[in-house]
Amino acid sequence: MTRIRFQQSLEELKEQLLVMAGLAEQAIQRAIEAYRERDLSICDLVSEGELAINRLEREIDQAALDLLAMEQPMAGDLRFILSVIKINAELERVGNAAKSISERVRHMERMAAADLPVNIPKMAELASAMVRKSLQSFIEADADTARSILTMDDAVDAMNKAAFKSLIKVMEEQSHLAPQALNALMISRSLERVADHATNIAEDVIFWVEGADVRHHKSLIKDTEQQDKGGANAS
């Protein structure tokens, strides 16, 4: 087999990305645990983890850049490296979301505990599962698994919308709970973002494995429909 050193470099890049994924996933788990336990020490752990994530993001990007410059990758190799760079960015944002959540938890810890009509842990579990599955599809280079994540996003979106409605209602009707409700709303939004990042990772995996660009699928359909309508109106 030729280009053994290059192969090994690609494997190493993959390993680094998986370490990054582990850190990101761990960050979300910790943030939600901090929420459940209202435990500030766990928030500190999340902050520490954030430093590691940022450092790793830079290392992975540098490694990928070097491979692009030095090895002239083509076809599948090129798509792989490109998707690693993109997934890297998504995972860093997952880490950011975890940090946001832990910041909200710090604020909420100073407030009275409130029983809010929103199941943050359930949302978190779904979002986490999506992230885990997307990384699995990456490890296995399985585009079908990746596709299944695209539909899971709808559930999380729905939960976020419901949370929005019910928390607004709480803020209107039980104004003393407004601060908690607002923070909970922001946590819910962060989790919705995590789910979006997982979706993006899945799209990047599909791009790598199949060479197909499946991003912005819905908006592209809408755009085409509108163009058709415009055409129909014009004639």
């Binding site: 030729t2 280009r3 290059f6 002239q72 076809a75 599948g76 798509r79």
Partner: protein, 252 residues
């Protein structure tokens, strides 16, 4: 102006060696098309079938059809005539050693009986300008021999010589493989400009070069054409695994 090339069921033999098998290909006019593949895959043989240069080898034999423009080059005209319409630039620059720069460029015309001094001057100047060599040699046209130029300049001289006979197609067999990176870049820029007037077919084992200059690329393997598609598709997402293995360097 360039013309398209249509190849149908082309087979070529060197003696008993079946060098090309069932090649079917449409090369678009006024584009650069690259042919890539490992050594011995038949890409050079194929290109030499397009101007019947393979016939210089007495044991060579060809079946199938090659249409250049609408001309069946094996049945409608002689080898000598097709070579006036289909020019060729070789891997190693090969200017005529006993001739000056001027005479080298004018060789194709002079050797075919062209005599008009004024017209020759004009054609030589135009050809040298088209091959980006004019500025470097315009003061030494008749004083310096073709062989006294640097490698990159010699190759551009050969390109000028090929252009002087006003072909419709330009075949380039690994034109930059003997040149340094700067000369290579100059040749590639040149190919880009020449596309507007000629149809260019370039054989190269340097994939990055194919990627830089050609709109379409064909991958040859063991005498067959495995895949022929838009260059950017071949290099980002080829359809055939053999193509992918070759361009990622995973052969063997």
């Amino acid at each position: 102006m360039g013309v398209g090339i249509e190849v149908t069921n082309l087979n070529a033999w060197y003696g008993a060696n079946h060098a090309l098998q069932e090649i079917n290909l449409n090369i678009p006019a006024n584009h650069a098309t690259a042919l890539i593949g490992p050594s011995g895959c038949g890409k050079s043989t194929f290109v030499r079938c397009l101007n019947r240069m393979h016939e210089t080898d007495p044991i060579a034999r060809v079946t199938g059809t090659v249409l250049i423009g609408n001309l069946d080059i094996y049945n409608d005209i002689t080898p000598v005539e097709i070579r006036r319409r289909v020019g060729m630039v070789f891997q190693r620059p090969n200017p005529f050693p006993t001739m000056s720069i001027y005479d080298n460029v004018a060789a194709g015309l002079k050797l075919n009986g062209y005599r008009s001094r004024h017209a020759l001057d004009e054609i030589v100047e135009r050809s040298l300008k088209n091959s980006a060599l004019w500025d470097e040699v315009k003061d030494d046209l008749k004083k310096k021999s073709g062989a006294s130029l640097s490698g990159g300049q010699q190759q551009r001289l050969c390109i000028a010589r090929a252009l002087a006979v006003d072909p419709e197609v330009l075949l380039m067999d690994e034109p930059a493989s003997a040149l340094d990176p700067v000369s290579t870049a100059k040749i590639e820029d040149l190919i880009f400009q020449l596309k507007a007037q000629y149809t260019i077919v370039i054989v190269t084992h340097n994939m990055q070069q194919a990627a830089r200059v050609a709109e379409k690329t064909g991958f040859f393997l063991n005498g067959r054409m495995v895949e022929f598609d838009l260059t950017h598709k071949i290099f980002t997402n080829p359809s055939d695994k053999r193509t992918e293995d070759y361009i990622t360097g995973r052969f063997g």
